[in-house]
């Protein structure tokens, strides 16, 4: 970042981050590609899933945490794929044990396989149980300003509205809602899900979001490492544009050269 804002730091749960791009680790060809894409993205917060060990099958399989070491990245366990509050809470407790007491989690409780939209009543229930159990909750939700406020009020450390359905790459479907959520918020607002390409990430940041979490848009690009680099720049460009403050839109032209002193008047 330039002299305009040398101290533009994202703080989540008291920890400072210079990158506003958060990335998932799913859908890559292999762990090496995962590592290279994450490096190119500049992300400092990386989501992981918690899954059953394949008994007797992964004896020599490398571990994800060897490729994205917890001393270098903030590992964000994700309750991806949970369809009820109880399973989501159990997943977070297992993650906390797995990561030696690390209590920052991304909560998502899904309601429907076709849309992967969050089940809001179940998400509220799980968020409350997790907060009561000393977790720090970053919550995936719809782009509903009232729900975003509700999650903030109950103590979630970040609210993460979807931009479009998970994995759809449709971009920011409802920019006015995202902007309203940002305007109301006192915790970081991160767009989670729906970004398809770098301009989508830039739009999210221009709306004033504090960051963007994405996975498929990078992992399913033809060249994931190059797209990770593009996303990094899109996030940075959008953030700087937001901080700079865009010019007002006008219905008609406005000359950008001085009118005075022309020789052809």
């Amino acid at each position: 970042m330039t002299e305009t804002s040398p101290q533009d730091i994202l703080i989540i749960d008291g920890r400072p981050y210079t990158s506003r791009l958060l990335v998932g680790t799913g859908k890559y060809r292999d762990l090496d590609e995962t590592r290279r894409a994450i490096e190119a993205s500049g992300a400092q917060i990386v989501t992981v899933a918690i899954r059953r060990t394949n008994i007797g099958q992964d004896r020599d399989e490398p571990s994800l945490l060897d490729y994205i070491p917890p001393d270098k990245y903030t590992i964000l366990p994700n309750t991806a794929g949970c369809y009820d509050a109880d399973t989501a809470v159990r997943t977070c407790r297992l993650a906390r044990e797995l990561l030696d007491g690390h209590n920052l989690v991304k909560l998502e409780v899904l309601g429907d396989e076709k849309t992967l939209y969050p089940d809001i009543p179940a998400t509220l229930e799980a968020a409350q149980q997790l907060i009561d159990d000393d977790f720090r909750v970053m919550v995936y939700t719809t782009d509903d300003p009232v729900m975003a406020r509700r999650f903030e009020d109950m103590g979630c450390v970040a609210v993460m509205p979807l931009a479009a359905p998970i994995g759809s790459g449709l971009g920011i479907r409802n920019p006015y809602n995202i902007r309203t959520i940002v305007e109301n918020a006192h915790v970081p607002i991160l767009v989670d899900a729906g970004v398809g390409t770098a301009s989508d990430a830039a739009i999210a940041m221009e709306l004033g979001c504090d960051g963007v979490l994405m996975n498929t848009a990078i992992a399913q690009a033809k060249n994931p490492v190059l797209m990770a680099s593009a996303m990094k720049k899109g996030i940075e460009a959008g953030r700087e544009a937001f901080l700079a403050g865009r010019m007002p839109r006008r219905a008609y032209a406005s000359a950008s050269s001085p009118i005075d002193g022309t020789f052809f008047s």
């Binding site: 799913g26 918690i50 899954r51 991806a80 407790r93």
Partner: protein
């Protein structure tokens, strides 16, 4: 005794500890274990004796973003 490990039935010697099971399964890398819905901390693997009918979940971290099938089925 019969137990359920990650949804599969297995037979263990009576008196087996959780540490005995983890060694027998030859699991490498970081794991976390839940038995009958309760976390068993790594520090208690050696002293935690398994019981007939225990439902044991052994998990690890893998690549993931959002969505995609969950692992732990709700009971």
């Amino acid at each position: 005794m019969q137990v359920l490990i990650n949804g599969e039935t297995d037979t263990l010697e009576d008196g087996s500890s959780l540490a005995d099971l983890v060694n027998r399964l030859d699991i490498q890398g970081k794991i976390a274990v839940e038995i009958n819905g309760e976390i068993v901390p790594r520090s208690r693997f050696a002293t935690h004796l398994l019981q007939e009918g225990d439902r044991i979940e052994i998990v690890r971290a893998i690549g993931g973003g959002s969505g995609a099938g969950c692992l732990l089925k709700s009971e």
